[in-house]
């Protein structure tokens, strides 16, 4: 009972927050709402016996990445989405197509739900072995991460390094400019 309530609470929060992120014209609010949705999603993760993931999500996403976004928003200080008129020179930039994207998204939802409804055996397939202890133990996570996925781990570390350098190079204003 309680967990059902929690689930609907958290998922509802997540969805609403995300929807508001999309519906928001002010990026500042969007960022904050996204943080909120992350918090709710962390709740979902905790409910899925993945507290570690939840906390990591908060630390990394909410604590670092979102702050970065916040910085950029504050730095550029371009709060309102500029209503730059569409140029109709190109068919692909017609407003209708923008809406068309939304239509596609709805279509995707329909498809996915249909797919879910069709897969009856989903629960059966996994119902049998669902003990929380396996997935919730951080030690187990660490073991798997650093033993079986160690190469991927190193690769991502290199990726991070490269991204860091790239970001610095990109954001540094060239000597030519002002």
């Amino acid at each position: 009972m309680a967990e059902t309530f929690a689930f609907y609470l958290f998922s509802g929060l997540t969805i609403v927050a995300s929807a508001l992120v999309i519906g928001q014209r002010n990026p500042m609010y969007s960022v904050l709402l996204l943080v909120a949705s992350f918090g709710a999603m962390a709740g979902l993760f905790i409910q899925l016996d993945a507290p570690f993931v939840a906390v990591v999500l908060i630390i990394v996403y909410a604590g670092a990445i979102m702050v970065l976004f916040l910085f950029v928003v504050m730095l550029l200080n371009a709060p309102q989405e500029d209503a730059l008129p569409y140029d109709h020179t190109h068919p692909f930039r017609h407003p209708v197509l923008m809406r068309f994207g939304g239509l596609l998204a709805v279509l995707l939802v329909v498809q996915l739900s249909y797919a879910l409804l069709r897969t009856r055996d989903l629960h059966v397939a996994v119902a049998g072995r669902s003990d929380a202890s396996v997935v919730s133990s951080v030690a187990e996570l660490g073991r798997v991460l650093f033993e079986r996925h160690v190469f991927a781990f190193e690769a991502t570390s290199i990726l991070i390094l490269v991204a860091m350098v790239g970001a610095v190079v990109l954001a540094r204003r060239e000597s030519g400019q002002q």
Partner: protein, 351 residues
């Protein structure tokens, strides 16, 4: 509705109460110590030796007018202080402050002194403290004032930078203790080495402790790292435009954070409620026996807080770039090296 549950809820309430009062106490203590260090009295009018001074301050703040600058973002301007203080309070939620006790057999089963205890407590602390950034950033941004903005930017930059060293330093302790639950870390420090020295991690992690202390100071935007509110440079930083209760919440959050920092330091390095002094003393068994560890805990936290204040009134303020260089180019490498060495040692002795 058995007694134990009541007690547990009571403990939560007590913790909350202590945190609220911590700010008041700390304000007074700060001013007293400042006066003492500057060869003067400090507050002494309100109440005996001015102990009621914080009360007076609070009343004054409550009755001030609530100003909101023109062009400020209404919601965020209000949200910012709430966020920060909430984060401050929440951060303490996984910090235990006393051993399990039955209160001299009063209860049928022991209760843990502390709000809650999750198996990733430390990470939760990180997470929530990192949330605290938002309060300051938003405060700075939403009040639509350049001083505030700079203060906010500085604050968030500083907090993010030092959070790394801070977390890395703690990671070393986590390696030693082999758990993420704060309570277990504390319990891993029970006992002594050779019956002489307390089995505290500080003795194995001196570097880590120093790094943690420095980073903690920066994390809480305290002097000598109090740039977000550097009066000489930007009037009062992110809370320039605030007044009344909204303003009151920021110092509140700051002091609570200080308390949290000290508590965490105590729990992770100073053995929490295990042992009073760095070396074995006859009182230790008594403390254990009568479940008075929380007193020792309070003592250590108090000591740490005194160290905080002492540092504030002793050291001059850094320059901002120096701060950043120090954080990124010295503190972080040191803590990382420390972590690696610790990992190697753990692997060598336990693996």
């Amino acid at each position: 509705m058995d007694l134990t549950l009541v007690i547990e809820l009571l403990i939560i309430g007590v913790t909350f109460f202590m945190l609220i009062n911590a700010s008041a106490v700390l304000v007074l203590a700060e001013r007293k110590i400042m006066g003492f260090m500057q060869q003067r009295y400090g507050p002494y009018l309100v109440g005996p030796h001015g102990v009621l001074q914080p009360l007076a301050d609070i009343v004054k703040l409550l009755f001030k007018e609530e100003l909101r600058p023109k062009g400020a973002d209404k919601w965020l301007f209000t949200l910012a202080p709430i966020l920060s203080v909430t984060a401050a309070f929440a951060a303490f939620s996984t910090v235990p402050w006393g051993a399990e006790t039955t209160f001299f057999g009063l209860l049928d089963r022991p209760v843990k002194l502390g709000v809650t205890d999750v198996n990733v407590g430390l990470l939760v602390i990180f997470a929530i403290t990192s949330m605290g950034v938002y309060g300051i950033v938003l405060a700075g941004w939403s009040s639509n004032s350049k001083y505030s903005l700079f203060g906010g930017l500085r604050a968030s930059a500083q907090m993010i930078s030092y959070e790394l060293s801070y977390a890395t330093a703690l990671a070393a302790v986590i390696l030693l203790a082999g758990t993420l639950s704060v309570r277990e870390v504390v319990d891993s420090q029970a006992g002594t080495w050779f019956g002489i020295v307390q089995h505290w991690w500080i003795f194995l992690q001196p570097v880590g402790f120093i790094v943690y202390a420095i980073a903690g100071v920066a994390e809480t935007n305290r002097a000598p790292f109090d740039f977000p509110e550097a009066e000489q440079e930007l009037v009062a930083g992110y809370n320039t435009e605030y007044s009344s209760v909204r303003f009151a919440l920021f110092p509140q959050a700051e002091y609570i954070n200080m308390a949290t920092m000290s508590a965490v330091a105590t729990d992770l390095y100073l053995g929490g409620w295990h042992g009073l002094l760095p070396f074995y003393t006859p009182v230790d068994p008594l403390i254990e026996q009568y479940g008075l560890g929380w007193l020792a805990f309070l003592a250590k936290v108090g000591g740490f807080l005194f160290f905080y204040i002492w540092m504030r009134w002793t050291l001059p303020r850094y320059r901002y770039d120096q701060l950043m260089h120090f954080g990124w180019k010295f503190l972080l490498p040191v803590s990382v090296v420390n972590l690696i060495l610790t990992a190697a040692g753990v692997l060598y002795f336990n693996g």
